[in-house]
Symmetry: C2
Amino acid sequence: MATKSVSKAGSAAEPIAVSGEKRAATAADSAIDKVTDAIIQGIRSGVFVPGQHLLEPDLTRRLGISRGSLREALKHLAAAGIVTLNRYRGAYIGILGRKSVLDLLDTLEPLARLAARLAAGNCVSPADQKRMQTAANMIEAAGRGGNRAQYMEDRRHFYDTMIDLGGNRELERVIPLSRTDLFRAQVERVQSETQRQRHVSGYGKIAKAIIGQDADAADRAVKRHFDGTRKTMEELPEDAFPQEDF
Amino acid sequence: MATKSVSKAGSAAEPIAVSGEKRAATAADSAIDKVTDAIIQGIRSGVFVPGQHLLEPDLTRRLGISRGSLREALKHLAAAGIVTLNRYRGAYIGILGRKSVLDLLDTLEPLARLAARLAAGNCVSPADQKRMQTAANMIEAAGRGGNRAQYMEDRRHFYDTMIDLGGNRELERVIPLSRTDLFRAQVERVQSETQRQRHVSGYGKIAKAIIGQDADAADRAVKRHFDGTRKTMEELPEDAFPQEDF
DNA sequence: CCGTCAACATTGTTTGACGATTTCGTGTGA
DNA sequence: TCACACGAAATCGTCAAACAATGTTGACGG
């Protein structure tokens, strides 16, 4: 394992992962993939703002699909925590208050640490080491460049690489990466440059530990990374977190 | 928090959790809840066997709903990992090989330990302590009784209680409890009585540590519980794990 | 026995419709 | 002026029927 991330034949677990990391919503995708890609990309690029109301008639027109397919896709996105569904009131882009963000970090941290430990234990071949290094380089370049959508996609790619190296297929199903896109979309525009750099540099340290096949060091690097993120959260002003009223 | 598990007004996060633990698919539920309840209950009771093919025309007739609603529900269940969808080939009840089970345990363990630590830190009021004790008693009674469906439901209730006490709302979204129902459904019929008793007694020890508000002890109790489960898995014969071909 | 191809079965998607519920503007009365 | 009831519009939940795309099965010929 840990050579290619594609599964056997577009098989079972694939459509579960909400994303679609590599393919950019090409033509031959199913209708629901078109929706999920469009919405995730919309969140990353800022077209969709957390809390925004998604109207079915509007989306069906813009995406050129039927209402039934759209509703299936929204169910899918809701299960991933990207949108919330209110009966008779429609779908909203998810929104995270300060407590939700901290809860999310607490939940994500042990999973990320597990992923890092597993990746460190399996990162033996030079090819795998190169993959990990490349992922770290990409995220650092995008982090300096300032392209928000690109940065979020590279961040996700970094996690995907780490998870894939680890070889635990349940992990990729469980880790709430799509939900962190949401929280990044809220935070990215209000954090300072120092905070951003602190965050970016964390990935490089994690990659270094994984490439060195030092599971304990990787674990510690992830822990420090999350500690830093929590610190950033505490430093942010209150108005960075819209109240999650709905 | 940690007093009642119901959310404000049947609000956003509720339909995400695939379950429906307490209400038994009453009338006024939405169509998709009817499907999810029926399928989960079917898995617990043995009506649906892991790997079974779910035919849309059959299910629409048996549940008395339209195909559109059924497909939305199947998307929902697929996102939770309970069924797998193969394009143009339909939906199948999920199936877990030995590696998938071990991966699932590795993923679930750190989340369960986090939940236990949080619960221990918040289990202060006598009401909360009673809730936890009751959940442990229920699971032990069902474990001795031998009613498989009841045991699986009580096991889930135990986790739900623990998560609710902890107060981390992301945790309940992420923890793959429904998927463990699947794995329990496969394992329950082939494990020995000693193995079963070992598993049942673990919950009582976890509850005791939580009620004693000893986070470290709760963490250790969960760890031991998972170590025991892994040991059981290794002891099981190979034919307990159908090959996950599809 | 094996490969080819056609008929069948099942899923993917669209369209249209109807009832249920929420939302919002409007008018009325105090 | 403000609070509240009422009705219209908007939106969602569900269903039904149809066609297209794909997988499956079995007959046929070699």
